[in-house]
């Protein structure tokens, strides 16, 4: 069955084209059916080829056609299918299908129903190409493709210019990373002579030694792309704003799939990163720093989607930490479980927003537990998994990451401690969300409960968030053996208990209100610090002053086109001379005659002066 994997991205792509071209003549049922059905079909094909693969776990490579071949450069449209690809494809098509199904109800009343599904299908196609690509150039195609789809979907409600602003920000900021990645591609091709991922790793191992300069530079450039797409420091600022898009979009693109592309990229090119330990160190440090920063910010948000956005940034930080310490499998595992529970949380918040007249502020919600039971349980399970409470999906993956980070010699313990702090904060902010939204007094009444097309994906994702931790992902042939020694038991106990402490703190703070930290929050330092965290550590302001404003200023300065000034000068000099000379053209015959005679006399005199010498 694996021979047909090229159909997997093709089906959503064709569906997307059909929706774009024929949207006017389709009824809503056909549009929804095409949109969700195509992804469902892709999921089915993925499942079939996955079963085939598990029976016979050999990587499979297929080339459709040569994309371009110039001099010694060659890239083809070809797919590579192994355990890692399978995991990614399953997440994309599986979670993608659930989100599409959810969308058919969520977007039901939207005028641009077809446009929405066209974009969303195209996104799925591009994302599939990204993870299935055999070479970095095709991967780059998918990479940019998902970027454009993200841009289109964030700015989906184009009438509001704030959405357009957010969409542009998302695209441009990730483009900065993409440009770094493109440079990485140039460097890799120039030094290795190929962009084919498998071959490249082989070449790199032949040419480079661990610790060489070139692999470090190349990996850092690739990392540039990864931090852009995965919203890590210092290019994370676009993700919270990207929440302007429809909520299912946030679930699919900005939580489950696209933002984890950076993690996938690093995992896919881990053969290169192993040659550059210092680059891996950077990955780990960036990851944990982002994770902590975003967790603090999430604590202070009041917009339900922004909390989840910062939480996503924070969780991807964990994945980066995993990659940085060489826990490849754990990183990808967390990617998968995160896709389950974060999609669940986003869809849950989508359900709330849908039923609560587009209310985003959590303090205007409250008491929704009894009125929206499906949503409540979704949130409960999702938050438990996010906080890594024992036996949920998030627990297994995050635990692995922390334990493997701990085992890293030298810095390991510090990374572990920072990771624990992050886990504590995660538990606090996720249960703050649960307690504020679902308990306490009701501030807004929902006007409906979710229908089956929303409830079904929620339940499915609940199930996955609960049992996802027991999945075994087939990547043992892809990645080198992880560190195996087992740390002392107390390390494990601490790792398990920290999230529980976090939940307890959240309970005391936001449910029973026994713990009163108001004096602390309202103190001079406390309120300043809170505000600082709330605005995301003022990174946006910093970039605004450092890049955005200067760019506007420079462009406004150059707008007058000073280069043209030179040509304008030539023109005005000519005009000046012209004015001066045209004085002589005064229309008076006698004046002309006098000048003629004077000229004649001058010429005669000159001739007389010269002729004696000539003769």
């Amino acid at each position: 069955m694996r021979e047909i994997i090229w159909l997997v991205p093709l089906i959503p792509l064709l569906s997307s084209l059909a929706l774009m071209l024929g949207s006017a003549s389709f009824s809503r049922w056909i549009i929804g059916g095409l949109g969700a059905g195509s992804v469902g079909l892709a999921a089915l094909l993925t499942l079939l080829s996955g079963i085939d693969f598990l029976a016979q776990p050999q990587p499979y490579q297929t080339t459709l056609w040569t994309w371009m071949q110039v001099a010694n450069f060659s890239a083809s449209i070809s797919f590579y299918f192994d355990g890692l690809t399978l995991v990614m494809m399953s997440v994309i098509t599986g979670v993608g299908f659930l989100i599409h199904l959810f969308s058919t109800e969520f977007m039901q009343e939207d005028a641009s129903y077809a446009r929405y599904f066209a974009y969303l299908n195209m996104f799925v196609a591009a994302m599939l190409i990204l993870v299935m690509a055999d070479n970095l150039l095709l991967l780059y195609l998918g990479w940019e493709g998902v970027g454009v789809c993200s841009y289109l979907l964030v700015g989906f409600w184009y009438q509001n210019s704030a959405n357009g602003q957010a969409a542009r920000k998302a695209f441009v900021v990730t483009r900065i990373g993409d440009t770094a990645m493109a440079l990485g591609l140039f460097l890799l091709f120039t030094s290795l002579g190929t962009l084919d991922i498998q071959q490249m790793v082989v070449e790199a191992n032949n040419l480079w030694l661990v610790g060489d300069m070139l692999p470090v530079v190349a990996c850092l450039l690739l990392l540039g792309g990864a931090v852009g797409k995965s919203a890590q420091l210092p290019l994370h600022t676009w993700l919270p704003d990207a929440m302007a898009g429809p909520t299912p979009v946030s679930a699919l693109i900005h939580a489950a799939t696209m933002v984890t592309a950076g993690v996938y990229l690093i995992a896919r090119t881990h053969g290169l990163f192993l040659l550059a330990p210092s680059a891996m160190m950077v990955v780990a440090v960036l990851g944990i720093a982002t994770s902590l920063m975003a967790a603090f910010t999430a604590l202070m948000q009041s917009d339900i989607k922004r909390i989840l956005a910062y939480s996503t940034i924070s969780q991807i930080g964990y994945m980066f930490l995993a990659l940085g310490v060489g826990a490849w499998t754990a990183g990808i595992f967390h990617l998968m479980t995160h896709a389950f529970f974060k999609a669940l949380l986003f869809l849950g918040s989508g359900a709330i927003i849908h039923c609560l007249h587009h209310e985003h502020n959590i303090f205007k919600m409250g008491g929704l537990r009894s009125k929206m039971p499906v949503t409540f349980w979704s949130f409960m399970i999702g938050s438990a998994a996010l906080a890594a409470l024992p036996f949920t999906a998030g627990f297994f993956s995050k635990d692995q990451i922390l334990l493997q980070a701990y085992q890293l010699p030298e810095y390991g313990i510090w990374l572990w401690l920072a990771g624990l702090l992050g886990a504590l904060l995660t538990a606090i902010y996720s249960f703050r969300l649960v307690f504020v939204v679902f308990y306490g007094k009701a501030n807004t009444q929902p006007d409906k409960e979710v229908g089956w097309r929303m409830a079904m994906p929620l339940s499915a994702l609940c199930l996955l968030s609960l049992i996802g931790g027991y999945f075994i992902i087939p990547v043992q042939d892809v990645f080198p053996e992880a560190l195996h020694g087992h740390p002392a038991h107390w390390v494990e106990y601490i790792s398990i208990s920290v999230p529980l402490i976090g939940v307890a703190v959240a309970y005391l703070l936001f449910y029973s209100k026994r713990l009163n930290i108001n004096p602390l929050v309202q103190s001079a330092v406390g309120s300043k610090l809170g505000e600082f965290w709330r605005i995301g550590w003022a990174v946006d302001r910093l970039y605004d002053g450092l890049f955005v404003r200067p760019y506007y200023a420079v462009s406004a300065l150059l707008k007058s086109e000073s280069v043209d000034g030179f040509y304008a000068l030539v023109v005005s000099v000519n005009q000046c001379v012209n004015r001066w000379l045209s004085q002589s053209q005064n229309g008076q015959m006698r004046w002309y005659l006098v000048s003629m005679v004077a000229g004649l006399i001058l010429l005669l005199t000159l001739a007389l002066q010269i002729s004696p010498e000539a003769s």
């Binding site: 184009y158 210019s161 462009s555 040509y567």
Partner: protein, 505 residues
């Protein structure tokens, strides 16, 4: 003869179009469309039967017999001037691009020309004739002749059918190109003179002048003459200032031809003449040329961002895009040159389409000012979607032609100078900034009340068909560029080899 006929068909067709106005004001445009179509079919039918095409051999640059086609007949024998036309892969690509975009241009001005239609279409066809001649002429004086032939009808198109500030813009265009043409003429004459004093024979033939021996100083100055002439046309920084004015004021068809085809003659001239005629001088000069290219990319992009006029923004984006061509030519390796050729083709389509959209907007809204627009997607979803397509094409989305071009140029340049490449790659970011702001200001945002009752303003059949042609072309170039690359490859390879041989000793 085929090549001569290609030009003659357009010249005579122009005359017919001009005269056909007496049969009705709608006749000239139909005539023009048919004439270009006949020309294209004529070219294609002749290519069909050629065995050279299936296995495009590498033409030995200075042996005309190895080219796809070659035609030579004396014109002014006393000075060794002849009518010499030849065709190789690059010329062929440019020919096809010219004719296809010629039809696009006719279609784009289908309804917005409301006086002297016959003369308008005639000028359009004559410009095309000049461009075709320029792409085929291999006698330098003949090339110069065609260089001028394409300018004057273009000047008339801007001056007669242009917008509010047409007199200034057309005059600026004319003076810039004329001065650069003068430089070109002087350089050609000087080159022929040097060749004459060395060999004792007058000749303006490309094949004779290729191996002219001259002092390094002379070569440098002559190369500079050619370089400036072509870079003004390209246009490269700092000779680009005529372009925004000319584009903004030109009628839609004029903009389409100007951006889609005329700019490419500059790029073509660089590849065909400026470097091969003076290999050593050109390679020594490449540092400055590349620097100009990089400055052009960034400068054009930053200025594009600052514009409020739709057409002016697109015009500056051309400056930015053509910077990549300059980089590609002067990086002078196969990757970069292929990228430059690809950029010539892809930019031809993407920018022509954007100008056509600008023209359609102006026809409907009677303004090009983006501050007056906003939210137009609501009234014109089809036009919005099409614009979005060409916007992402122009910002270099992989899978569309422009990406292949930019990628190859930068990849080639990286092998020459990684640091410059890093700066040039900033163009990818700045390109995204101005492209998206264009979309935002025109089609997205709060719909303006005054456009609510615009009625059925969306793209209709003719426009959608034209756009579809260009979209398909860009997609094809983006996912299967190999035919274009293969067509250009033998030529580029032999050019590179020739230059390498010249430099080696």
């Amino acid at each position: 003869m085929v090549m001569l006929n290609l030009i003659l068909i357009l010249l005579v067709g122009g005359l017919v179009a001009a005269l056909s106005e007496r049969f009705g004001e709608k006749v000239p445009r139909q005539v023009a469309l048919v004439v270009i179509l006949i020309d294209l079919l004529y070219l294609l039918t002749h290519l069909w039967g050629m065995d050279g095409l299936s296995q495009l051999q590498a033409p030995v640059v200075n042996d005309p017999a190895t080219w796809l086609m070659h035609f030579k007949t004396p014109w002014i024998p006393a000075f060794g001037i002849s009518i010499e036309l030849a065709l190789d892969g690059i010329s062929l690509l440019m020919l096809i691009l010219t004719l296809v975009l010629g039809m696009v241009a006719v279609s784009s001005s289908w309804t917005d020309i409301n006086h002297r239609q016959g003369f308008f279409e005639a000028n359009l066809l004559w410009t095309l004739a000049g461009v075709l001649g320029g792409f085929m002429a291999l006698d330098l004086l003949l090339f110069f002749l065609f260089w001028e032939v394409m300018l004057i009808p273009m000047y008339l198109m801007i001056a007669i059918w242009g917008h509010e500030n047409r007199a200034y813009a057309s005059m600026k265009f004319f003076i810039f190109t004329q001065v650069s043409g003068l430089l070109l003429l002087v350089s050609i004459l000087a080159l022929a003179g040097i060749n004459h004093s060395a060999s004792g024979v007058w000749s303006f033939s490309y094949f004779d002048l290729l191996n002219t021996h001259m002092t390094a100083g002379a070569a440098h100055w002559l190369m500079l003459g050619f370089f400036i002439a072509f870079v003004v046309k390209l246009p490269g920084f700092p000779f680009h200032t005529w372009l925004p004015d000319a584009h903004t004021q030109a009628p839609t068809a004029g903009s389409v031809i100007l951006a889609g085809i005329l700019l490419k003659t500059g790029a073509y001239g660089l590849i065909r003449f400026a470097v091969p005629l003076f290999p050593e001088a050109a390679i020594n000069f490449s540092g400055i040329a590349i620097a100009l290219g990089v400055v052009g990319i960034i400068y054009g992009a930053v200025l594009a961002f600052a514009q409020t006029d739709f057409k002016r923004l697109v015009a500056y984006s051309s400056v930015s895009h053509m910077g990549f061509v300059l980089l590609g030519v002067y990086a002078w390796n196969e990757l970069a040159l292929q990228g430059a050729v690809m950029q010539m083709v892809a930019h031809g389509f993407s920018t022509a389409a954007l100008f056509m959209i600008a023209g359609s907007l102006q026809e409907r809204l009677h303004t090009r000012d983006m501050r007056e627009m906003g939210g137009l997607w609501q009234q014109m979803p089809r036009m919005g979607a099409v614009t979005m397509f060409f916007i992402v094409a122009s910002l270099g989305l992989p899978g569309l032609g422009n990406f292949v071009a930019e990628f190859l140029v930068l990849l080639g340049l990286f092998q020459v100078d990684p640091w410059i490449t890093a700066i040039a790659a900033l163009g990818l970011i700045t390109g995204a900034i101005y492209s998206l702001i264009l979309m935002q200001r025109s089609f997205q945002g709060q719909p303006k009340d005054k456009w609510v009752d615009l009625g059925t303003a969306d793209f209709a059949g003719r426009e959608m068909l034209t756009m579809a042609v260009m979209m398909l072309a860009l997609i094809a170039l983006g996912i299967y560029p190999q035919p274009v690359l293969d067509t250009a490859q033998p030529v580029l390879q032999s050019l590179i080899e020739m230059v390498a041989v010249e430099i080696a000793p």
